[in-house]
Each structure stands twice: as C-alpha cells, then as structure tokens.
C-alpha cells in the first residue's frame, strides 16, 4: 500500500488545495503531460500500428543481417567495411547512451518532481531560451541526449522545453564546441555553430508551445507521464500485484503529482488552469534504503539503455550501409552552389550519422565548401541523422519526427543563408577568426 493518497492516475493528490488553481488567459506555460492526462485520459493501445511497424522493422533488420553475413560464407571486402563502420559507431556511442541513461535515471530518482514545472511556469516564454542556454548543465552528445530529455520530461519539463533541450543539447555540449574549434582552428565555427543550435532549438520550442503533447508523443509515453511514473514505474492505475520488496510497503515511491488539471480547460480555447506556484511544494519524502535505491536506479538505467539501443542499432545499420556503398561521393559536385551546397551537406550529415564530437573534423575535410555549407553540416547533423531518426521513434510519433526534421532543415537553411553572413561579418569585424584564438 502506498501513501499518501493517490489520485485516479496514481499521482499524489496535492495536500494543499491552494495549489489548485486559477483560470487565466492565455496560459503562461505549455501543459505537461500529467496535466493533460489527469482528466482527459486517452487510452493507449497495447499494440498499436507503431508497434507492428517496429516489429516489422526489427525482423527486417535481423533478416538482412543473416542474409548479408551468413556464417562461413566467402568474405567480401564490403563485409569488412560494413562491420568496421557498424561496430565503430556502436563502440563509440554506447558509452554516451549509457551515460545519458544514467543521467536520466538519476534525474528520475533524485530531482524534485515539482522543480521543472515550477521553473517552466516562472520563466514563462523565457523558459524556452533558458532551457537552450542551460543545456550544458546536462551535457550529453546526440546519442545520450534522448535519454536525458526523457528523464527531464518525466520530471515535468514541458514538451516544448524538452524538445528545445533535445535539439540544442548535443551542440551546446562544451566538448563538442571545443572539438569544433580544434578542427577548424577558427573561433567563428564554434560560435556560429552554437548560435545556430540556439536559433533552431528556440524557434522549434516556440512552434510547439501550444501543441498537445498527446499528439506528438507515443501513447505509451503519454500514458506513462500521465501516470506520474517516476521511473520506478508504478502507475497504480492498472491492477498489479507484484512485490515491492522489503521495506516498500510504505511510501517508498517518489510519485510526482499531477500538478495541474488542464484537461477541462483545454476544451475551451483560450482558457487554461494553472498551478499556484507560490504554494508550498508538498513533497513525498522517499524512504528508500540504499539497496532499494540502487536496485531502482539499475533497473531504470538498463531499461533506458536497452530500449534505445535497439532503435540505435537499426539506425547504425542503415548508416553503415550508406557509408559502405555511397560515402560522400558526389557531394563535392555541388560545393559551389549557394542553395544546394548547404542542402547537400545536411543530407551528408544525415547519412554519415557522425558523433557530434567528431563531425567537425570530417566537415573540415570539405575545404571546397563555404562557411555556410559547413555550418549546415555542423548544425543539422547532431539534430537529425539516421540513427537519431530511429531513436526518436522510442518517444515520438512518426509524423512529428518528419515534421520536426523538415522544420529543422528549413530553419538551418535560413540560418546559414540569411544570418550566418551577417554574423560572420560581425565576428570578422571584431577580429574573431582563424587567428583570433
């Protein structure tokens, strides 16, 4: 039995009625999933179309592996190339996915459940740029950032803020910016790369401001967040009779409460109900033993890792195949085109699926391309590539993945063609350039 009292979806019922609620217009912060789902719960499907697609994709991947690499068959040169690319990307990325999963697990266990929603509420519209600027506080490369983002979202970070972090995080990583400078020996590249990441992330965040997260997130993710799942995962809405282990009979769970009921309000456009942020936080003090904490942390981290790794491997498989058969052949032909060059470099970044910490060195080899085209490669690559496309399927609906990819491509193109020349002129006039550092 768990105490304190649980709401209909398993979150703690707020102990202070003062936390509920005022009607205002317009809403100062986007709703979080617990908000939306608290009343207006959409049932999920145990095996929706998405899961069938995933199963088909996984089976196709397994079949291709067996057909292309039959044991004891004569070895072809491309076997070595493919396996080298595949295993190299896996070995390079696995530690960072694991670190991201660990960070997500720690966030879920130890970050106060009300902290992020309150911050988002207090900052209002400034919360989006603040999230992008604060991304280095949760440093993760593009392989690990999804796990961290999911952990933040579980703790109530609104979806627009989460996506902003997801986009800006890999580039705002100090290591990535340093290696960018290292590759080019030119301070303009890391500066313009960071500005580009902030530009795209903030605009996408605002574009999502009023969108319903349930239409963006997979049903199982929406359901989980609405249940106030803290990573330990007990939604308490469903009937389950598993053992909690010794000492877990009390309130050993740190259930985040659904802070606000927006479901009804959203049915009336322009109106919303928000939490009273001045009210004291009623925290459920977890009373876990060290053993329970470690058990919970390990289960969370392994779950995060294994779930993302399956989709990651699918993306790496495609990326390795593309690198083996196509590489960067033909891309240099469009280097002189103002429009096509950035587009080609974005496509190349998508195909190559390089780690953000290494992609600058590859970009630097394309010396025939302009600053704008190289920045298109550097800004777009960590936001969206083949492996990320597959990893995003862990959390987001397919339409949203393609929509956000298109939006990011357009924004990056606009940035490198319209803003980079201006910013570059400004930086150059300030003496920032190749010899500046």
């Amino acid at each position: 039995m768990c105490s304190p009292a649980l709401g209909p979806l398993g979150g703690n019922i707020p102990h202070s009625s003062s936390r509920l609620l005022h009607s205002i217009d317009p809403p100062p912060a986007p709703p979080t999933l617990p908000d939306l789902m608290a009343v207006d719960h959409l049932p999920s499907k145990a095996a929706g179309p998405g899961s069938y697609v995933n199963r088909a994709l996984f089976l196709l991947l397994i079949g291709l592996t067996v057909v292309l690499f039959p044991p004891l068959a004569e070895r072809q040169p491309w076997h070595d190339s493919f396996a080298t690319y595949f295993i190299a990307i896996v070995l390079e990325a696995v530690p960072y996915i694991l670190i991201g999963s660990l960070l997500a697990g720690l966030i879920e266990l130890f970050m106060p459940a009300t902290l992020l929603p309150r911050l988002a509420k207090r900052l209002g519209l400034f919360g989006i740029p603040a999230t992008a600027l604060a991304a280095p506080a949760f440093p993760a490369c593009e392989c690990g950032v999804l796990a961290v983002a999911r952990g933040l979202m579980r703790k109530g970070l609104p979806l627009p803020h989460t996506v902003t972090y997801l986009i800006a995080g890999p580039i705002m990583n100090p290591t990535v910016l340093f290696t960018t400078w290292l590759a080019f020996q030119d301070a303009r590249y890391p500066i313009l790369r960071a500005v580009g990441a902030l530009f795209v992330a903030v605009i996408v965040g605002y574009l999502l401001w009023r969108m319903d997260p349930r239409k963006i997130l997979l049903p199982k993710v929406s359901d989980s967040l609405a249940k106030g799942d803290d990573g330990h995962g007990h939604g308490h809405q469903h009937d389950h009779s598993h053992q909690h282990g010794d000492g877990c009979a009390d309130d050993c769970h740190d259930h985040p409460a659904p802070l606000v009921n927006l479901g009804a309000a959203l049915k009336k456009p322009g109106a919303a109900v928000v939490m009273d942020v001045t009210a004291p936080v009623v925290a459920t003090k977890p009373r876990r033993s060290f053993r329970q904490t470690m058990g919970q942390l390990s289960a969370n981290v392994i779950d995060h890792f294994l779930e993302m790794a399956a989709f990651f491997l699918m993306g790496v498989f495609i990326a390795a195949a593309m690198k083996t058969y196509f590489g960067s052949a033909g891309f240099s032909d469009v280097a002189s085109s103002v429009i096509l060059a950035p587009l080609a470099m974005m496509l190349l970044a998508f195909i190559l699926s390089l780690c953000a910490e290494a992609d600058a060195f590859v970009a630097a080899s394309f010396s025939e391309f302009s600053l704008a085209a190289l920045l298109a490669f550097l800004v777009f690559g960590p936001m969206f590539d083949i492996k990320l496309l597959l990893m995003y399927r862990v959390v987001f609906r397919s339409w949203f993945i393609f929509a956000i990819a298109g939006a990011m491509a357009v924004l990056v193109l606009f940035y490198v063609l319209a803003l980079v020349p201006l910013l570059d002129a400004g930086l150059t006039s300030m003496g920032i350039g190749r010899a500046a550092l």
């Binding site: 095996a47 899961s51 199963r55 996984f58 089976l59 397994i62 592996t65 690499f69 044991p71 040169p77 491309w78 076997h79 070595d80 190339s81 396996a83 080298t84 690319y85 295993i87 190299a88 070995l91 390079e92 696995v94 530690p95 670190i99 660990l102 020996q185 997979l218 989980s224 967040l225 990573g231 995962g233 007990h234 939604g235 389950h240 598993h242 053992q243 282990g245 058990g295 390990s298 392994i302 294994l306 779930e307 790794a309 399956a310 491997l313 699918m314 498989f317 390795a320 690198k323 083996t324 590489g327 960067s328 052949a329 240099s332 290494a358 060195f361 590859v362 630097a364 010396s367 862990v394």
Partner: protein, 306 residues
C-alpha cells in the same frame, strides 16, 4: 530480470568484453576512447549485477507499467535478436578494419589538412639528433631526423636513391657501408602528407596498405596531378574518434610493379621520400624495399589532437 532482458544484457556485456579483452577495440575507436569504453563496460556490468541481485526477487520489470517498450514476449525476443547483432557480426567476421573498398577519391585532402598549416608554420629544424626508433604500432610518434637540415623549404630534398629497384625486393640499402645513404627515419604515413614537416628527411620507413587505382579512378584525377605516377599507392586511415570518421591518406609508390602485388596487403616500405609540393598534392616514395607484414594491432593512425 526477465529472460529476454537478461539475454540482451549478457549479449552486450559479451560483445564489449570480447573487444576490450582481445584488444580488438583498437580497430574501431581512438586510443583515448578506450578508457571511456572500459568505464562504460564496467558501469553496465555493475548495473546488470545489481539489477540481478537486488531486483531478482521482486519481479521488478516483468510487467508493462511504464513507457519502456517491453511489449509482449514475441516483441521482447525479436528485440533481443537485434541486441545480439553486434556480437553476431563480431563472431562471424572477427576483428575487421577498413580497406580500399570505401575509398572514392584518393586525391582528396585528408581532414587534418586543417592542422597542416600549423604544422607547416612550425618550420623549426629538428634539434635532437637521436637515432630513430623502430617503427612499431605507435605510429603517431614523430622523431627527429638524424640528417642534415635543409633550410630551403621550397625545394624538395635531394633524392639520394633515385636509381633502379634493387634486385631483391626486400633488400634495404646497407647504410653502414655507404655513408652517403642516410638511415631511414620511421614516420607514420600521415606525417609524409605534410609538405613542410620533417625538413631534411629524405629516407623514410613507413607502414601502410597497398592500393592499385583502377583506370576509372585515374581518369577522375585532376589534371595537375601526374597520372603516369598513379600505378601504386600506399594508404592508411586516420581517425579522430572512431573508424566512421576515418579518412585515408596516401602516398604514391614508385619503383614497384603493381602486378606483383595484392591490393590491401599491409607492407613496410623503406625508400626516398619526395614530399608533396603543397597541401592537397600527393607525396611520393621511391621504394627501396617493401615487405609484406601482418596487420598492426592499431591499424588506424590517430589524428593529432593539438
């Protein structure tokens, strides 16, 4: 821990441990990544152990209660097979490395060309006249050349052994008997790419793999490069983080018939170095001796970090 999840975890542990213990990781990731990988493997192993010990009695994750997509049993086992793909490839193919198959343009400057300007600007003559070490797997070490220093960087160093190929293809000129022939300086292939580095060095010893350009590839070569020389190339990949970002660097080999040789063989070359006149041009080696060797334990060169 449910069986599918346990098999997935064991599969990952076996894959990571096999590459770490056997040293195969060096064919895939940069040396500095080794420690990251070791730490990650230890972390993952520890978590799996804790999960198995602490959560074993609580049936902790046998039900679908949160957004982790455990799915049904069929899905779990399908995903398990996906998790085993890295281990399957490793067991099927062993430790692999990149050959000439993915190379599409051998005239393209290497990525670290951006660092070349800094190297080229550093035109201080080598101060220490230490004897060159043996050319092992530590290919990034740069040694001082035990030869007189030339200050005219615009002119290529004199070719001291621009003669016919020795009768014995593996023979090395006896420098002890002929003081006019300087000792070969072991240099990684990457270092031969820099036109103004190692000034004064004429004879070099290096390791790489052989590539015989096809006529189609030669036809694509820019006109400023002498196509007549492009019979045989020595290449080696340089990586920054992992093999996925690796790019090959090349030198042209003179004095050997390509027909005698096998593509992608690892060879040790001793000969006279003719540096490229400029960045993006191809350096040459007039081959004195060529020995087929085993693949080094670190087949990739590491890009300079600073």
């Amino acid at each position: 821990m449910n069986p599918a999840r346990l098999v997935q975890s064991i599969g990952w542990m076996a894959f990571l441990a096999a590459l770490l213990v056997g040293g195969g990781y060096a064919s895939y990731i940069a040396a500095w990544q080794q420690w990251v990988l070791i730490a990650a493997t230890a972390l993952f192993g520890g978590l799996v152990l804790i999960d198995a010990l602490v959560n074993r009695a609580s049936d902790h994750h046998d039900h679908d209660h949160h957004d982790h997509d455990h799915g049904n049993t069929t899905d779990q086992w399908v995903q398990t097979l996906v998790h085993l793909i890295p281990l399957f490839l490793f067991l099927t193919l062993g430790v692999t490395t990149l050959g000439s198959q993915p190379i599409v343009d051998f005239t393209k400057p290497a990525p670290m060309s951006v660092l070349t300007s800094r190297h080229a600007a550093d035109e201080k003559p080598p101060a220490a006249q230490t004897p060159p070490p043996a050319l092992g797997n530590e290919q990034n070490s740069v040694v001082a050349a035990p030869v007189p220093v030339k200050t005219d960087t615009a002119t290529p160093p004199p070719i001291l052994l621009d003669g016919p190929t020795p009768a014995d293809p593996t023979a090395t000129p006896n420098t002890a008997k002929d003081p006019a022939i300087p000792a070969a300086v072991p240099l990684p292939l990457m270092e031969l790419y820099y036109p103004k580095k190692h000034l004064g060095v004429t004879r070099v010893e290096t390791i790489g793999r052989l590539m015989i350009p096809t006529q189609e590839e030669i036809d694509k070569v820019p006109p400023e490069i002498d196509r007549a020389d492009l019979k045989l190339l020595l290449y080696r990949y340089v990586m920054t983080c992992c093999a996925a970002d690796a790019s090959p660097v090349f030198v042209v080999l003179r004095g050997r018939e390509a027909s005698e040789l096998k593509v992608d063989d690892w060879v040790k070359i001793t000969g006279t170095w003719i540096p490229a006149p400029g960045l993006g041009d191809m350096a040459k080696i007039e081959v004195d001796s060529m020995t087929v060797i085993e693949q080094p334990t670190e087949p990739f060169l590491q890009a300079p970090k600073e």
